[in-house]
Amino acid sequence: MITSTSLRALIVNWLPAIVVTVLLIVMWEVLVDVLDVQRWLLPAPSVIIAEMFDSFGFLMGNTRITMFEILVGFSVSIMLAVSLASGIVWSRTIERTIYPLIIASQTIPIITLAPLLIIWVGTDMMSKVIVIVLFTFFPIVISLVSGLRSVDKEMVDMLRTLGASPWQTFTKLMIPSALPSFFAGLKVASVVSVIGAVIGEWFGSSSGLGWLMKIAGGQFQTARVFAAIVVLSILAMALFAAVVAVEKWSLRKYPPTANRVIRLGES
């Protein structure tokens, strides 16, 4: 239920973004019209919206496929990142062997790897999941490791004097302390995962929004490309919002020591 105060807060929070977006769209519409830009070059927002209604079923069918790939890839990525980060924090040997590999994996231009993945694992969902994981696990691992490391040394000693085992220290102190950093990485990864899915689909797929964009682009159906972009943006924002919701819930349950929002511009 939305009370009048929470509705007001909602409007105050979102009004600046909405106003700017609407202004940009209006400018786009007007400029395309005034400068008489060709439809296949840059369609006006009204044309894109019309296209979204026209090919709604087609768009949604492919959206469902892309969304599923993202959810699977993102989940696999989180599980992989959590185990890697835990291993790195747990053991120096694991850190020394794994950390360089993780960093090296990020120097591979994943776009060039995608066609190879098609050859190796085929054109089914697996290749897209791998691309999404390659794109998203890195920010999660890095932020989680730094979060787990940022734990107060005195807190660790306090737990040791109470007889805590390393595992107890990890679960009762380090994980709750690392939550803010973990979610910072998760937010970056949630948005990047959408890019990963599109790139995965671009290089060998017969469905999904990435494939749809590639086909439509080749046929100069520019409005359809933009329609897919709009859907992808909505997907990314929804995923981001979901992560923020889980973050809010978990930080209410495990409040960090300092949870004041600092804005340097508003002293």
């Binding site: 107060d152 005195e154 807190m155 000693d157 306090m158 737990l159 040791r160 004097t161 109470l162 007889g163 805590a164 085992s165 107890q168 009762k172 102190l173 709750p176 349950k253 495990y254 409040p255 960090p256 020591t257």
Partner: protein
């Protein structure tokens, strides 16, 4: 002596040797990055005894408590706390209240208080009962479900002390427990500590730079000097603690004792 009983009998010998001493520190030295921090420290604290360590900052008082609790390992010497000679055995078997309250921000007062019991595997119900049993005398019964950030500094220190004493270890270490508090709160907590804490069965070591606090709380004051940290004097506190703290601090004996200890502390400052 057969080899398989050796461990047991040697433990037995030690408890016989040290008689009443719950805490025995002999010849302990500690270095940090090749600089000597502590040098040949010898302290023995009996059951029921309350000892205060006073000294200028940087003389290694807190380091000594970290060594006793097992957080740090000594370069040389031997520490035995309630029969535990090994550092790993002392961890978890020596109660240690640090200078900062170090409360976990996501746990309620009750959950913070029972942390030590929880780590030992005591059930939630059992540990909550133990918390409630002491909460009254700690003045915490009304705030058991509060979060740490809702509490004043003095209250937070009480929670930290409750957390430290609940595992009921025989050796209790207090590192400037009231150091971060204002003078009035500190004085009332000192009086409260004397009344609430049953130390008759414990060996207590208090680290402080507040000479009055040392006299007020301890039976014996050890004066330390820095670089390297060592004990330079040992003073028995033979004054009647039955008086309340403010009356006590006005008494002639108290003033003389305080003067003597301050004299010892300032003399070494001059040497340094």
């Amino acid at each position: 002596m057969s080899s398989d009983t050796r461990q047991i009998s040697s433990d037995h010998d030690i408890s016989v040797d040290s008689r009443n001493a719950l805490l025995e520190i002999s010849g302990v030295g500690f270095d940090y990055e090749n600089a000597p921090i502590l040098d040949s420290i010898n302290v023995s604290v009996d059951r029921g005894e309350f000892v205060a360590l006073v000294g200028p900052s940087g003389c290694g008082k807190s380091t000594l408590l970290n060594l006793i609790s097992g957080v740090l390992s000594a370069r040389s010497g031997q520490i035995t706390a309630d029969g535990n000679m090994l550092r790993a055995d002392r961890l978890g078997n020596v109660s240690y209240m640090q200078q900062k309250d170090l409360l976990l921000s996501w746990r309620t007062v009750a959950e913070n208080s029972r942390l030590g019991l929880e780590l030992r595997g005591v059930s939630v119900r059992e540990s909550n009962e133990q918390v409630r049993a002491l909460a009254d005398s700690f003045g915490l019964s009304d705030v058991l479900d509060s979060m740490p950030h809702e509490l004043s500094g003095g209250m937070r220190q009480r929670v930290a002390l409750l957390r430290a004493v609940l595992p009921d270890n025989a050796v209790l270490l207090l590192d400037e427990p009231f150091g971060a508090l204002d003078a009035i709160t500190r004085r009332s907590l000192q009086e409260w500590l004397l009344n609430v804490l049953d130390t008759s069965n414990k060996a207590v070591v208090l680290v402080t730079h507040d000479v009055e606090e040392a006299i007020l709380l301890a039976d014996r004051v050890l004066v330390m000097a820095p670089s390297p940290g060592r004990i330079v004097a040992e003073i028995e506190v033979n004054i009647n603690k039955a008086l309340d703290a403010s009356a006590l601090s006005m008494s002639q004996e108290f003033i003389e004792l305080r003067g003597a200890i301050l004299e010892l502390l300032t003399r070494q400052e001059a040497v340094v």
